[in-house]
Amino acid sequence: MTTGLWELVLRGVWTTVQLLVLSALLGAVVAFVAGVARTHRRWPVRFLAGFYTEVFRGTSALVMIFWVFFVLPPAFGWQLVPLWAGTLALGLTYGAYGAEIVRGALLAVDPAQNEGGIALGFTPGQRTRKILLPQAVPEMIPPFSNLLVELLKGTALVSVMGMGDLAFSGNLVRLALQESAEIYTYVLLIYFVMAFALTRLMRGLEGRLKAGVR
């Protein structure tokens, strides 16, 4: 492989990293909002959050990407830059999976903690923010770590829309070289290293958060 082709691959890595970071941020926000909303005391809030998670967990990420790229523009009259369209589709889809993690962790906190908050006169919002979430967040880290690897794998889907991520540059190199074993092996290895780095990062985060709780 020539240096020019490696440059292409590196540009793909950069796009993948950008997409990963942006959609992870959007996904985290969505996951916490929807996850907390699913434990809300008013049923319309619970219902709306539940509806969102069911719909977005029910469809395929790739179908969602197609939808954001092809249906949103004519429906609303504006078109997103590919990077943002990819972020939107991936963030909303994986955020829905994250919402289930947040909800599960919130429900797993000992009910006595919440009752203690009621006895001390905390408002529902204060209880969630100051009592439930600080105890639930460290428990969310291992499942979030798995989800982050799933999201990394999901970013490859945008290559179908012609966005120049790592998988897409792999395809370009294949076309240039007329040979596929080498480049796809490299691409898979790069994804694997990224996934490995992510799990390590999350494990470190988990250690620090748990040290803070106990």
Binding site: V55, V71, K153, L157, V160, A167
Partner: protein
């Protein structure tokens, strides 16, 4: 936004063909992932690390890399190595292989959940090792893991649209075909989006019923 019911009606024949392909890929992929996952899980229990380590590394690698790139790999590299499969066969193998690295963990948990007393009883009865696995351990383990395996079938369903990237005309592939011919993107894409939600909701309902009956 204007919704065209005629486009929905025109798309229906293509949609049904695509649905058939999707379900076919799903069924075959599930079969492969169930069998291969069990093989990985059993190999991970062999006493020698010369088997456990390679299996562990390879499955970890397959699990942590994108299915889409694995599809490309198999689709373009296998022919270079002299093995030419149809796009559908390649896709089914890739999905089955990818998900077998998930199901192996399910099986492992199921096998570990069989109480130690069952192993001891089998030893006490002087059952041969193969018979212990076949008649004592696996029937109990598999029963426990059916719901978890079902969840992966649903996850697999949502990954079948990737087969479109290697020219398999499943639901998304047909929707794209229709869109390109008729310049109508909204209706076919929405129809298959709804179809995915409906199928996976029905499947998870079915699974919950099954779970109640199997795991008591």
């Amino acid at each position: 936004m204007n919704w065209d019911w005629d486009a929905v009606r025109d798309f229906m024949p293509l949609f049904l063909d695509g649905l058939a392909v999707t379900l076919q890929a799903l069924a075959l992929g599930s079969l492969i992932s169930f069998t291969l996952g069990l093989v990985w899980a059993l190999l991970m229990r062999t006493p020698t690390r010369w088997v456990r380590w390679p299996v562990g590394i390879v499955t970890e690698f397959v699990r942590d890399t994108p299915l889409l790139v694995q599809l490309f790999f198999l689709f373009y590299v296998l022919p270079e190595w002299g093995l030419t499969l149809s796009a559908m066969a390649t896709g089914v193998v890739a999905i089955g292989l990818h998900y077998s690295t998930y199901t192996m963990q399910v099986y492992r948990a199921g096998i570990e959940a069989v109480p130690a007393g069952q192993w001891e009883a089998a030893t006490a009865l002087n059952l041969p090792r193969a018979r212990t696995w076949r008649a004592v351990i696996l029937p109990q383990a598999v029963r426990r893991v059916v719901p978890a395996l079902g969840n992966y079938v649903i996850a697999m369903l949502k990954d079948t649209p990737m087969l479109m990237a290697i020219t398999v005309l499943e639901m998304l592939g047909r929707a794209r075909l229709f869109s390109q011919q008729h310049f109508q993107f909204t209706e076919p894409l929405t129809v298959i989006g709804v179809a995915f939600v409906v199928i996976s909701s029905l499947a998870s309902l079915l699974l919950r019923t099954l779970e109640r009956r199997l795991v008591r």
